[in-house]
Amino acid sequence: MTSVRDIPRPRVGDAPAAARSVHLSKVYGEGDTRVVALDAVDVEFPRGVFTAIMGPSGSGKSTLMHCMAGLDAVTDGQAYIGDTELSSLNDRQLTTLRRDEIGFVFQAYNLLPTLTALENITLPMDIAGRRPDQAWLTTVIDTVGLGQRLGHRPSELSGGQQQRVACARALASRPEIIFADEPTGNLDSRSGADVLSFLRRSVKEMGQTIVMVTHDPVAASYSDRVLFLADGRIVDSMTSPTRERVLERMKAFDGQPEA
């Protein structure tokens, strides 16, 4: 196991991290087919910070996100959401944790086609049987800026609008942390910019914690800091990223073609 202590740490405040990992490892397969997706990763995602995770294909960035979000079991080490250690939870507790403490935005297929935009936004709270905080909901909805389209079904919304609804859903239950997996991967640049601005505002104005996996330097430039993964390890980080600097850094990965 390689030590990761030499990796520069991001600025961390006194407040505990929204999520962190300790020596987190994930191994697929055995023997010849053994693949180490995550290799003893130590990482912290501080509260109120927009973190982007980048890296070439197969670097383990999605696996890291899945393990941190309790969607995938870890092989070794621990993942924490707030103070809760995920491997100690059973499926039911994990489900509750995802529902109450975590928000998700996926690359595609984020919304239930049978529900209206508004119903989709309040879905996690409906599942929990909780009434949404109306004032907060209004704030979130105003920020989404869908206006009259809230009563529409997803099939009647554009891709960008759908992703913004998905973001609003993630925000609406005020989770500890939001994980976004390539949220702009399926969008044109303009719609993507809308979604990213929305995520950015939710961090700046609402103090939300967001972790976003992306391979797009433009998307990464909206974040507060970027973590670079390669071969299952965090190899670098960058604060206040710009598109150019991120692009520059990515080129350094052995000239590997980007996925």
Binding site: F106, Y109, T114, I127, G129, S155, N186
Partner: protein, 848 residues
């Protein structure tokens, strides 16, 4: 394209198994029915082929009652005098000729004194024919009976009763009860089977004495000398004995008897095939639904094939080829399962009257029909989805989230409305039409049109219904309830097709339950109104029994009047009618008739009393002369002496017992009504009655309530058989719901993954699927109840003149059907829900 088809079939084993199951069940029922009826037919063919001597002589019947072999009896049979046997014996080419006695209503009792269980088949008495050339019985053990104290029994009966040679066997003949020594056992016909009937053989003159007429025979068996054709001998005999006899060669005889029975069997076959048809009809929905969903899920794949250059016809052929393979495999398995069904039917019918010996008959026809039906239904069900698949534009493959465009329901609405309207019109017409026959067929047609109309309209109604009824789901079950409702309405066609499959079977079940309840209530009503007798003596299945019983009851102290009732078939002024024959003198004490004209006095002598409808239909009034022709050829001039309101016990026409006896009617009673003298000790009389009847276990003594219960028991039993047969279509429908849900789960994998990711736990997920299932099945149940009620009440209305005078809707039972519908929904969801809950979140989300 073939490789793609085969690969696709193998890739979806589970979906395949589910849709295949619907075909298997449908075909199993069809093939099972055919195997069973073939076996039934074979049993009787064997029986008749071996029954016939070279040439047979029988008294001619005046008209074909169509009731031969139904156990109904025609009431009057003529006999052949011994002198005719002598005449036949003298005919050139006749080697030997012997008269025989053969009659139903001769019962063998077992060691406990109970009637040997024939499973409802008749108890037959025959005369023993020593000449093997003339006998269809072969002695197996012992020796032939020599006088009235000796009897020979068929081997099956001996085995069933556990008798051995030398035992004393009580036999109830159509005359006296006798105790005879068992001196021999014999097998009957080539296969040795008697279809469950018991056969008791006595020496010829003893047989005439016990259950025939001295000096008279029921027929003559003739063997011919070698070198002369049967036909030649037949013609010579016919010429020698003159009119009034039917002379047939062995093969003619077998054909004639078998032909009569086949008419009876055709009914059984039609009856069973109707249920097979229902099962297949329901199965078609499942297959159609399955293929629609499979094709919908493969839209992208098929569109990709199109983009790569596959022609529409090729895509269509690919889907149809899949259906073909599925149809062939399903039919093959169904054919095999048909043996199971046939075995089940055999034991079912064994309990109700027909015991079949030997193995099951597996005819080429069965194989052909099974494959034809199974493959054809599958192909038809797959054709529409195949055509739609072929129309999928290639761009659909490129699009990430191709949403199948909801097709307009307008054509369905128009088509369904027209059919429904036609159905309603036919049902209304049925009320207006006077003639019962056409009313019943109008109800049938109307019901069919209504059923098809409802099925066509089902998707149109589904949406508002589920939105309305489904409104309670979110309130009761929160988000899972809300999502379940939305899922149920998102594809109304699919929901409707799934619900319709359930609807068809259950609608018939509830329709029949209305008919059953109404019939039972009518029985109660009719008996309350009309049964004046204190006791009724009869067998459970209206089998004939000895007139000695009535005679003995007459001798009991405290019995005021005894009324015997017999049945006959007669042509009244040229129209065949079932006629009751009763004692004119005591009828009023047995049954309280409500006369609109004339009275029971009008029945005396050559009187005829008829019910109102018959009088109206035939234009008869009191004093009219009516000619009656009995099956034995006797013509009787009758005078209409009374017209009564419909009476279930008597039927539509009644003649006096005197007329019946004078016309050569058989001295066998079907019902005996006992009326007690006033102020007697009822309990004491009852025990003397029971003591007397102890010797005749074939009949039972029933007071009014018991009699009503027995009648209703028969209705309930019939209902049970029908429900058991309809149960199959319900099972298929349940599989359909399972199938639809399972495929929906596969289709919505990503959605389920998303729900799980954002915090829906497994329990909620299972509940969501369960509630969707319940919504579908309750929708099916509600439409079923509405349809079933319409069917049932319409048919009861149409049959009002045939004794079903009361309309009863068993609300309790209907409520139970609704609950059953919901339970079916819960059960059908168990497996798909578990599958959905087991999905790994990540895998589900990652599913393309």
């Amino acid at each position: 394209m073939w490789r793609a088809t085969v690969r696709n079939l193998l890739a979806h084993k589970l979906r395949l198994a589910l849709s295949g199951l619907a075909i298997v069940l449908g075909v199993a029922f069809v093939s099972g029915t055919m195997i069973f009826t073939d076996t039934l037919g074979r049993t009787f063919d064997d029986l008749f082929a071996s029954t016939a001597a070279d040439v047979n002589v029988e008294p001619a019947t005046a008209f074909d009652s169509g009731l031969t072999g139904t156990g109904e009896g025609v009431g009057t049979t003529s006999t052949v005098p011994a002198t005719v046997v002598d005449t036949v014996q003298g005919v050139d080419g006749v080697a030997s000729a012997a008269g025989f006695v053969r009659t139903e209503g001769v019962y063998v009792l077992d060691r406990n004194g109970d009637v040997l269980d024939t499973g409802g088949a008749p108890g037959i008495g025959i005369s023993w024919e020593p000449d093997p050339a003339l006998s269809s019985s072969t002695l197996v053990d012992g020796r032939p009976p020599r006088d009235a104290t000796e009897v020979a029994l068929d081997v099956d009966s001996v085995e069933k009763a556990g008798y051995s040679l030398g035992d004393t066997v009580p036999v109830l003949t159509t005359g006296p009860r006798v105790e005879a020594e068992l001196v021999g056992t014999f097998s009957f016909g080539d296969s040795g089977g008697s279809a469950g009937a018991s056969l008791a053989a006595f020496e010829k003159s003893a047989a005439q004495q016990l259950f025939g007429t001295p000096g008279q025979f029921n027929g003559i068996a003739v063997s011919t000398v070698e070198g002369v054709t049967q036909e030649a001998v037949r013609d010579r005999i016919a010429a020698a004995i003159g009119d009034g006899y039917t002379v047939r060669t062995a093969s003619e005889q077998a054909d004639a008897l078998a032909g009569d029975f086949e008419e009876g069997l055709a009914f059984v076959e039609t009856f069973l095939l109707a249920f097979a048809g229902i099962a297949l009809f329901v199965g078609t929905f499942i297959i159609l639904n399955t293929f629609s969903m499979l094709v919908a899920q493969r839209t992208r794949e098929l569109a990709l094939l199109r983009a790569l250059g596959a022609r529409r016809a090729q895509v269509k052929r690919s889907v149809l080829a899949e259906a073909l393979v599925l149809g062939v495999v399903g039919s093959t398995l169904g054919l095999a399962a048909g043996f199971g069904v046939a075995t089940g039917l055999r034991s079912l019918f064994g309990r109700f009257g027909l015991t079949l010996d030997g193995g099951l008959v597996f005819a080429t026809d069965t194989v052909l029909w099974s494959y034809a039906v199974g493959v054809l239904v599958t192909l038809v069900a797959a054709y529409l989805p195949a055509r739609r698949a072929a129309r999928t534009p290639p761009v659909a493959a490129m699009r990430d989230d191709h949403v199948a465009v909801e097709r307009s329901l307008r054509r369905r609405t128009v088509f369904g409305s027209v059919l429904t309207a036609a159905g309603v019109a036919a049902l209304v017409g049925a009320f207006v039409v006077e003639d019962d026959g056409s009313a019943a067929s109008l109800v049938g047609l109307g019901a069919l049109a209504l059923l098809l109309g409802t099925i066509a309209l089902s998707p149109v109604i589904a949406r508002p219904f589920l939105r309305g009824i489904g409104g309670v789901l979110p309130r009761l079950f929160g988000t899972p309830g809300h999502l379940a409702r939305e899922n149920a309405v998102r594809n109304p066609r699919r929901t409707a097709a799934t619900a319709s499959a359930l609807m068809v079977g259950l609608a018939l079940v509830s329709g029949f339950s209305i008919i059953g309840a109404s019939t039972n209530a009518s029985v109660d009503g009719a008996l309350d109104q009309s049964l004046g007798a204190d006791y009724v003596v009869s067998t459970a299945v209206q089998a004939p029994f000895s007139a000695d019983i009535a005679e003995q009851i007459r001798g009991i102290d405290g019995v005021d009047a005894v009324t015997q009732q017999r049945f006959a078939q007669a042509e009244l002024a040229g129209v065949q009618t079932s006629v009751s024959a009763v004692d004119a003198g005591t009828l009023d004490s047995a049954l309280a008739l409500d006369y609109t004209a004339g009275s029971t006095a009008g029945l005396r002598g050559d009187g005829l009393i008829v019910d109102e409808d018959t009088a109206a239909a035939r234009g008869w009034s009191v004093g009219d002369r009516v000619e009656a022709l009995l099956t034995n050829g006797r013509r009787v001039e009758l005078t209409v002496g009374g017209i009564y309101t419909a009476n279930a016990a008597l039927g539509s026409a009644v003649i006096s017992l005197d007329t019946f006896t004078a016309a050569g009617g058989e001295a066998l009673d079907r019902f005996v009504y006992v009326h007690l003298a006033p102020h007697v000790d009822t309990a004491a009389v009852r025990s003397s009655l029971e003591a007397t009847l102890d010797a005749y276990p074939v009949v039972t003594l029933k007071d009014q309530t018991q009699f009503a219960d027995e009648q209703k028991g028969q209705v309930d039993q019939m209902l049970m058989i029908i429900n058991a047969l309809l149960g199959l279509s319900v099972i298929i429908a349940v599989l359909g719901i399972v199938n639809t849900l399972a495929l929906s789960v596969i289709e919505r994998t990503r959605e389920i993954g998303l729900l799980r990711a954002i915090g829906m736990d497994r329990r909620q997920l299972r509940q969501m699927i369960r509630l969707e299932s319940v919504a579908i099945s309750v929708y099916g149940s509600v439409t079923e109840l509405v349809l079933g009620t319409v069917f049932g009440t319409s048919l009861v209305q149409a049959l009002a003149d045939q004794g079903i005078s009361r309309q009863v809707v068993p609300y309790g039972r209907m409520a139970v059907f609704l609950v059953i519908g919901a339970v079916i929904g819960v059960l059908a969801a168990v497996w798909p829900a578990r599958r959905a809950a087991k999905l790994e979140v990540l895998d589900a989300i990652a599913t393309a």
